[in-house]
Amino acid sequence: MRDPAEFDAFYAASSHRLVGQVFAMTGDLGEAEDALQEAYTRAWQRWPKLRHYDNPEAWVRTVAFRLCINSWWRARNRLTAHRRAAAHTEPVPELNPDLLVLIDAMRQLPDKQRRALVLHYVADLTVEQIAAETGSAAGTVKSWLHRGRRALAPLVSEFSDEEYVTRRDYDYA
């Protein structure tokens, strides 16, 4: 049985958190919104089963991330994004140039490294939680994080601090 009130509460509690994570993954706000809404739509279709999951938010996030790296879906939604941009009347605050550079650098990373970085630094998940969500080994996740940090070190002040990187690595070892 689908309980609308339960789903609405879940949506209200998680959507704003998730849109930040998906945007950090894609670097495109319209695309992140589309992917997230599609993921929530699918979640509603499966809500009788999904509501019993320990963490439905992880399911929605995984679906949204997969949609973001699905080129067919992105191409199909390009027209929708244009329509949305035209209908977007509220002004969007400008993004700082340094953040734009960071987003651009993130988009150059492989999908898995980017996903691990977002889950670790934006969603604040531990290595074990990332491993469980991505279906990978903890060592693999650490490797993704290490490579991602190394690639972004010139842009992120914390990543350039070798002591910080080492401490984070050993915290979850």
Binding site: P4, F7, D8, Y11, A12, S15, H16, R17, V19, G20, Q21, V22, F23, A24, L29, A32, E33, L36, Q37, Y40, T41, R42, A43, W44, Q45, H88, E90, V92, P93, L95, N96, D98, L99, L102, I103, V118, Y121, V122, D124, L155, V156, S157, E158, F159
Partner: protein, 165 residues
């Protein structure tokens, strides 16, 4: 969380205009309804196809059974109607010629379910005569009386060459 990542997430939170939950639910419900309607149509179509196939198979006529060359049989049915096992005793007396000779090739009707022993079964009765031999032996081969078939059809003769003189 590094400060840059935090600012990126905050930017998305403040700048995003997500649809409300009711709109998301409405979209999902429409999709579910469409999917169920499609499944119903597909199910009905599949049921119709299966039913049609079953009816076709049940009412289809059996393939004709080839018994053998009817020209070689002594009992031939002159009527062209195939006899398919009538359940009761047949009142219409169809003339069945059992003793009178039938010209070859006239009885082409397959007689189903009544295999009759034929005296010339297995002989090639319709093949043309082929005589193979040397010029010297041809006369002897063709002049000698060959064992005639019961229906008078030509018989193939293969003769071995005989030394002249």
């Amino acid at each position: 969380m590094p400060e840059q990542f935090q600012r990126i997430a905050e930017y998305a939170r403040h700048g995003s205009t997500l649809q409300d939950a009711a709109g998301v639910r409405a979209r999902g419900t429409r999709r579910l309804r469409r999917r169920r309607a499609g499944q119903a149509v597909l199910g009905t179509g599949a049921l119709a196809v299966v039913t049609g196939l079953g009816v076709n198979l049940a009412t289809a006529a059996p393939a004709p059974v080839h018994v053998g060359p009817a020209a070689a049989t002594t009992s031939a049915v002159p009527t062209p109607t195939p006899v398919l096992g009538t359940p009761g005793p047949s009142t219409s007396a169809s003339p069945v010629a059992t003793s009178s000779p039938t010209p070859a090739g006239s009885a082409a009707t397959p007689v189903l379910g009544r295999p009759t022993p034929t005296p010339t079964a297995g002989l090639a009765t319709s093949s043309p005569t082929s005589v193979i031999g040397t010029p010297g032996s041809t006369q002897a081969a063709t002049s000698s009386p060959s064992p005639a078939n019961s229906d008078g059809s030509p018989t193939s003769v293969v003769s071995t060459p005989t030394p002249a003189g």
